[in-house]
Symmetry: C2
Subunit: 225 residues, 2 copies
């Protein structure tokens, strides 16, 4: 469902060149659950943003559901994103002046649903935040904001879920609840890609891709228990 | 060096009352290294902000170096903070439109040092970011921003370091480098309080305080290896 071919992404800053992604090639089957791991600064978030249609590579190709994403206009890209992908950002990216509930409703309203409240409340309940839905992001703890970001990513029932370090701000128990949620979504047939620094989270995935210095160093299947 | 007595912090939101801290009492000796753990939403960041003189409790007392902090004016509080405390925020709180280097220089400039560049460069080098000093926060990875926040917290050589989940966005190896840094600072006699969800990090501390629902549930000394 996801095919990345010879992808490169470079940043130029003050005369120096940073190769955030260097000739990256890999694929993810529909319904797979894949972990992406690697050192801080190795290119994981950069890769996730391109896969999530939030950014474009400088060279190389990205096929999503067999469609060459680079041919799409900005609007068409936004539509594909909204219909097919749920994204949990490493820095959450919640809108600051609206409530948790309103944040989670947004993807549904954008998709044209006129009634979003019920689904948003359910998504927030799944991540354990039923008693926080009226809070704005600055009235929430770090881990609560992270869970609102997860709820927002799943509320449209997307085919693909991209989660960039979804448990970094959570205690072990709450983190396990989120992993159980992802397992359930994966059992429903959704494709899940998780960037994580937590070996426990990576161990739950059927394949682990290791990135360093913008390159894929290792890609191995793991027998999951 | 830190004495918290019967501290309570309550938030009122839309008719409901949230007891973020409920009658919390504890003390930290000068030179100790203490871990604060507990579930998401349990009150850890709220407690850290009050200890860091960034917020006031609704009731109870906070003595820092035997001085009752609640008697200080806003300006006096800011001065104490700047002179004695280095704070690593859970959400980093870097200034977005200046570089990593400039962000790390700020506490020194605020303290009246006319030359801040050398110390700031050294702090960034200690956290492994010498080749990123000219980047602005949105040109850095999540873990790089976290490390800039750590560099900023240590650059004034403060007596007390408060770190709110300083390794949540770091891979294991980089996280260990940060813990080695904290050990070194502690060996120099600085008092360190770390909020963490990582059992490995908590295990490195000589005492662990467990918080749930705004209350201290457990406080135990751990023989450190
Ligand atoms: N301004 C506010 N208004 C209302 N409630 C708030 C406000 N700030 C925090 N809270 C609530 O207070 C509780 C404690 O928050 P705090 O940030 O201290 O938790 P925490 O232990 O740091 O959690 P985490 O591990 O997720 O970072 C949370 O349940 C949060 O929803
Ligand atoms: N706009 C930019 N300009 C210049 N360099 C950038 C920019 N954005 C990211 N980088 C650099 O690209 C590299 C890869 O960044 P990326 O965010 O993908 O890392 P990451 O693997 O997600 O790291 P982490 O685990 O710390 O989140 C980093 O070294 C970063 O400094
Ligand atoms: Mg990242
Ligand atoms: Mg917190």
């Amino acid at each position: 469902i996801i095919e990345v071919e010879s992808m490169t992404k470079t940043y130029s800053l003050g005369g120096s060149t940073i190769k955030a992604l260097d000739n990256v090639t890999f694929g993810v089957e529909s319904g797979e659950k894949v972990a992406i791991t690697g050192p801080s600064g190795s290119g994981k978030s950069t890769l996730m943003h391109i896969i999530g249609c939030l950014d474009r590579p400088d060279s190389g190709r990205y096929l999503l559901d067999c469609e060459d994403v680079s041919r799409l206009s900005k609007n068409a890209l936004a539509q594909v994103r909204n219909r097919k992908i749920g994204f949990v950002f490493q820095t959450f990216n919640l809108l600051p002046r609206i409530t948790a509930l309103e944040n989670v409703e947004l993807p549904l309203l954008y998709a044209g649903h006129r009634e979003a409240r019920g689904s948003a409340e359910e998504a927030l309940s799944i991540v354990g935040l039923s008693d926080r839905i009226g809070h704005e992001p600055n009235q929430l703890s770090g881990g609560e904001r992270q869970r609102v970001a997860v709820a927002r990513a799943i509320v449209t029932n997307p085919a693909i879920i991209l989660a960039d370090e979804p448990t970094g701000n959570l205690d072990t128990k709450t983190g396990e609840e989120i992993m159980r949620l992802f397992k359930e979504l994966n059992d429903q047939g959704r494709t899940i890609i998780i960037v994580t620094h937590d070996p426990e989270v990576a161990a739950h995935c059927s394949r682990q891709i290791y990135i360093r210095d913008g390159r894929i160093r290792d890609s191995r299947s793991v027998p999951t228990g």
